[in-house]
Symmetry: C2
Subunit: 330 residues, 2 copies
């Protein structure tokens, strides 16, 4: 434990100074989710809250990576720094990320003002969101002006990932199939800014009309009501030719101003804290169950006795209550 | 509590007799995730393990619903009954499901030997997988010969959903974009049977070749090695014209025979139990935290004091250890 303390004593100042190797090391700790990482977040948390944290999500094939790439160049051109987290929840088994994207981006960014990291699911359910939130903290504490979180937005886990950001940009394209339209509907409700990418394609008019109609429905049901409410704008882009990208950035900044002015920023941050706390608490109880009766042992026992899963879980929980060891200090 | 006991005393025999209203009611209980549901699963769990449970997953637009529809007709034609769970994790906010699919299927199935239910995310993270697993138990206990679980397979949550089945059918189509290819790669690792649907399209040859190549890679890395190992077959279908669907069913049955013969069936069932136990334990600790210090209260307090999420979670966990109330008997 003394070794861990010493390692963090060395790491934290380098991280806060924004040294790339220290940032990379700290994100690896965040992915590992061990005691060192919990202590690390405890140490740097007070330095967070300064970065602009933007999520970019949308169905597969919408051009999210390209948009993130162009947004990053745009803020770099203003002299601001940017950290990019490419979150890929599609391969929980190999931990593989969208390798093509990653390589493409790393070729582009030899710029020290840009830090890029792919994150893939590791460990238990909910682990990816937890690790991503911690990685955002790391980049924020390291002094990056912007943190862009890119994810394929489809399932609950990905929604949880983008929930940790201030502004959610949902990217879509004209001419997606019906299934994709349904996926998009799920994303409508978390969008702060819509981007209709590849807007030079056939069907852009129609796609924008459809989006406006869906937004209109959402407003009518009262969720978007009130004078101070934010109405998600729709921005047409051809990200691959940089068309419309400055307008996306403008809307992101307008949204941030609205967040700050309306009190919504604080409300969201508290909601994010709740999500993170819940995810951490869930991981905590699993660790405690492993350290007491042992999850595998009880599952084996329950399986042999044909116990239902609720009964096995309750036994483990009772075991945790009876004898959970204290966590290593964090 | 006496009222709940009495309600279950009435419900359980009707459920075990396969009455559709009782099945529907029991699945609603499973979705609610309350004390009645925990007790229900406890009562019917001993009657499970008889149904053939098959998951059908794949990227959006692959034609999963059509394949499920045709598989259901096929087993019905043999006189066997089938329960279908259409899991839609795309809209955690409205709880909306793929309405179009649902309506289409309900029009087709006025057949009492078919039970169809859409399930959408409710409540907390991990809740959808938990509810789906319980719903599979309900259908199994109700005596359905087959349970087909259809889900858009993309994120961790959806992978957790299909992990509860015996045989995973991954559906893909020729000519998907790059992003979709990456999604598919994530599904490769959980596939027991591959279906290349819409095989009358251009690019079917190429798509099958790509699939074979990816499978070959997976075998070479040792994960598929050994004489007794299962090699996922690739079946070409045009589900909308019923072409190839009997071959899919044949491969599903061949896979089941392999599972039973190799001992893998028991291994998988124990692994499924573990997943379910972990999900239940996580929900359990959140309930206990709410009943002791209160999650919302501690989050508000922590937010005001700028505590990091690990500290807030640890406070809640300590509170649970100090004073968790006993669960209502289940």
């Amino acid at each position: 434990m003394a070794a861990r303390e010493a390692a963090l004593d060395a790491l934290v100042p380098r991280l806060l100074a924004g040294e790339p190797q220290a940032v990379a090391r700290a994100i690896s700790l965040a992915e590992d989710g061990g005691a060192a990482q919990r202590e690390l977040i405890g140490r740097v948390y007070g330095k967070t809250g300064r970065a602009r944290v933007v999520g970019v999500t949308g169905p597969p094939g919408a051009g999210k990576s390209t948009l993130v790439d162009r947004l990053a160049r745009l803020v770099r051109a203003r002299g601001e720094t940017v950290g990019i987290l490419a979150v890929d929840p599609t391969s929980p088994y190999t931990g593989g990320a969208l390798l093509g994207d990653r390589i493409r981006m790393q070729k582009l960014y030899t710029d020290p003002g840009v830090f890029i990291r792919s994150m893939a699911t590791r460990g238990t359910m909910g682990g990816l969101a937890r690790a991503t939130h911690d990685a955002v903290d790391v980049l924020d504490a390291a002094g990056f002006d912007w943190v862009l979180v890119e994810t394929v937005g489809v399932g609950q886990d990905e929604v949880d990932v983008v929930r940790s950001v201030e502004t959610v940009v949902v990217v879509t394209v004209p001419g997606l199939g019906d299934d994709i339209q349904a996926l998009k509907a799920g994303l409508m409700e978390i969008a702060d800014v819509f981007v209709l990418n590849k807007a030079d394609r056939d069907g852009a008019e129609r796609a924008e009309k459809d989006l406006r109609f869906m937004l209109h429905l959402a407003e009518d049901d009262g969720t978007g009501g009130g004078a101070a409410a934010w109405r998600p704008p729709i921005v047409r882009t051809v990200a691959s030719r940089d068309e419309g990208v400055p307008q996306v950035l403008e809307e992101v900044e307008r949204h941030r101003a609205w967040l700050a002015g309306s009190g919504e920023l604080e409300r969201r941050r508290q909601a994010h804290l709740r999500l993170r706390v819940e995810a951490i608490l869930k991981e905590r109880v699993l660790r405690a169950a492993d350290q007491t009766l042992g999850v595998e042992r009880e599952v084996e026992r329950g399986f042999a006795a044909r116990l239902d899963p609720y009964r096995v879980a309750e036994r483990l929980f009772t075991g945790v209550l009876a004898g959970a060891p204290a966590e290593e200090p964090a």
